[in-house]
Amino acid sequence: MVMELARYLTVEAGGRLMHVSVIDRGFDGYEVVYHYALDHLEKNLHLNIKVSLPEHNPEIESVAKLSPEASWSEREMMELTPVKFINHPDPRHLWLPYEWPNPVEGVDYEFLKDRLDAPPTQKSSNQPSLMPIGPYHPLLIEGAYFRVKLKDEEITDVDVKLGWNHRGIMKLFESRSYSRGVYLAERICGICNVTHTTAYLNAVETLSGIEVPDRAKYIRTLIAELERIHSHLLWLGVAGDLIGFKTLFMLSWKVREKVLDIFEATTGSRRTPAMNVIGGVRKDLAGETIGKIERRLLDLRGEIEGLVKLGYDHPLMRRRLQDIGKLSLSNAISGGAVGPTARASGWKLDIRWSSPYLAYADGYTTWDLITEDGGDVWARTMVRLKEMLVSIDIAKQCLQALKKVGGPIKIEAVDPKNFPYNEALGKTEAPRGELMYYIVSDGTNIPYSVRIRTPSFRNNSLLPKMLKGYALADAPIIIGSIDPCYSCTDRIIVIKDSENPKGRGA
């Protein structure tokens, strides 16, 4: 039955399957929730299909053949909860460490065989046919593992193993009250922590029916846009480093320091603003700080236009980035790409536009959507560069509005008391793409379960498709072009040990 519904939703209605999450209901078994986004039909329209399964050996038909983007979500759920997705195309282990105490039976751990500390073996001629880009590699700031199969320096197949950053964050969420959870949501990813708190608070505030005052909406949007500029500048520097362009790293990080100065002057800390609290914002922006920010935004715009011009006409950069790591529009839609990676393939997908939140709605700010149609690393670079200029416009409009709009910046509720609804979906447009929080509440002030689907989780599943057929020398910049953030990807769900089916896990 689920298959027909899924086929109807994706094929006829053209919806997007965002995530498959499993809620463990203890005695009455498991709930498999399919999150569909239909926000292209009407703004903010989402659909959750719930399927409840019995407690002992729960099984369900896998949707991955129909919509391949669900394969990673289902793999994650299959690996971490006893739910089995029947004839899933690739049911291998993805997140858990190798020597996890009780590996889920019936799955062949191909990775367990060639363990990392085995000496590198070259089977055929001295040309290494199997190249491990291992957990520690200069290309990745964080841990990830790509097993690249090569045929004389051309990539034929890539296999991804993640989970090196898995800190069991969702288990921690389930032991913290909502107001304390904000500071945990902020530490899932160091680069995009404002969007994480915004998404978490979108979900919590819809859950508890709190309406954020207008002034707080503008301040939150301002901080979110400043963070998008900082994140794109950081990516530009790292991408420059990946193609050996040390100067671009230095130039873009010199400009980034200006954005961090704005953060430090207004919110008190360079990289963790901690501005968002439940019901609004922690600190108000006084009159002259708004003037200060406006002056700084002016020369920031000049610097970023310089970087955009540099990106455009540097001959070698264009030659190194053009037509590699191609992702066609059909692959992007079927693979479920999100954020700049999708927009670079010509797909008009932006959460700020399709389901607006905070001050992105029509009444508050007006801005336009940037898309390119090249689909290669060069197009992604251009999308991110132009998006920075759009972000500066939005930040300017927020500052103008802040001068006019008065009113409180926070509703006094430290911890929400009553919960009119028992589940909520909070979504934002993180610098890397669509970020989704799904919070289920059981009436107490501690969430029953929190499911997070981050943009890098989805973009990483597209990497094997992008890397095939290109030279190993291009692998770093192709992997870098989706702006992978493995801290986001490995936030992962709680484990429910099979010995005590009753409790909600260790």
């Binding site: 590198p120 040390k246 671009l248 130039l251």
Partner: protein, 335 residues
């Protein structure tokens, strides 16, 4: 020039070219840092830190080398031990020999022999070989890849250097570096007479010194450190010494062949001031090279190959024809 005097002059030349190498490397780091609007290794350490951090950092490459020589060396068990150790040593021998051939200003130990240019180019070819050998023997996939890339790149950057050097030999009419140097002082320096060959050799030298856009074998992002991945401690110190010597020898080759070995019009060849003008000219060339180093990202190996063939090799060929035209139409110049 009897034997003892020759030996003294040779050791003086080697140590001088090593010191020049460290100065050139410091200059590359300092200029590329300054161009990226950061300060780079201090010329003069600020006063409060002078006690703990020393007074100046001009000899920063020297500190790196001494530190590496005092560190523990780890040789991977799966690597072939003897070849792994002998590769940098062999490179050091070749470089010391080639540094004695390069004349600095008026001191020229072995460069006055007849075929010294051929000997020099032959010795300089040995350095990439040891890198390839060291990389592929070190049993790490990155080393093997680094070795292969060094092999591909070597073919690319050796051709312009060799053709450009022989162009100057044709214009000067002799194969010994000393005669080429003297011939230039009589007529104009060959940088002015035959700029094509000069450009070709300079581009070849940038590839040989692994400056961007040609630092493909040491692309730290793709293949951790290329051939030098498994080297550490004393062997890595040896490789750094080789890098210093290689820098000063290559820059010295360019000065002697194209800028009359530091003989500026005011200063004739046979007084000791030429060492200072030699250093000044070297600093200018290194400044140009580090500007190119800062401006460019890294080529992919196939892009680098076809770039070299399209521009550098073409320039060298044009320089060669231009040398023939000069030799037959204006024989007076060749003297």
């Amino acid at each position: 020039m009897n034997l003892i005097e020759l030996i003294i002059q040779a050791t003086l030349l080697t140590s001088a070219s090593f010191i020049f190498g460290t100065i050139y490397n410091y200059e590359i780091r300092k200029i590329s840092a300054r161009l990226q609007s950061r300060r780079g290794p201090w010329l003069l350490v600020p006063k409060p830190l002078r006690k703990s951090l020393g007074t100046t950092r001009i000899l920063q490459p020297l500190y790196d080398i001494i530190k590496l020589l005092c560190k523990e060396t780890i040789i991977p068990p799966t690597a072939r031990r003897r070849l792994f150790i002998s590769a940098p040593l062999f490179a050091l021998l070749c470089l010391v020999a080639s540094s004695t051939i390069i004349p600095i200003g008026e001191y020229s130990a072995l460069s006055s022999f007849d075929l010294s240019l051929v000997a020099l180019l032959y010795l300089l070819l040995a350095v990439p070989f040891t890198l390839i050998l060291g990389g592929s023997v070190s049993s790490s996939p990155w080393g093997i890849f680094g070795g292969q890339r060094e092999a591909d790149l070597m073919l690319a950057y050796e051709t312009p250097i060799v053709i450009g050097s022989f162009t100057t030999a044709i214009m000067a009419g002799s194969m010994s570096i000393k005669e080429i140097q003297v011939a230039q002082t009589l007529s104009l320096p060959y940088l002015v007479l035959n700029p094509f060959a000069a450009a070709a050799v300079l581009l070849g030298i940038i590839g040989k010194l692994h400056l961007k856009p040609f630092d493909i074998p040491e692309a730290e992002v793709e293949i951790v450190a290329g051939p030098a991945t498994e080297y550490s401690g004393k062997l890595l110190g040896l490789m750094e010494i080789n890098k210093m010597l290689l820098t000063s020898v290559c820059i010295g080759l360019f000065i002697n062949l194209f800028m009359a070995g530091g003989a500026v019009p005011g200063v004739t060849l046979n007084n000791s001031l030429t060492v200072l003008t030699y250093l000044a000219e070297g600093l200018i060339i290194v400044a140009v090279a580090s500007l190119i180093h800062t401006l460019n990202p890294r080529f992919r190996i196939d892009q680098a190959l076809d770039w070299y063939i399209k521009t550098a090799a073409l320039l060298a060929a044009v320089g060669l024809c231009w040398a023939y035209i000069l030799r037959h139409i204006y024989p007076a110049i060749s003297g």
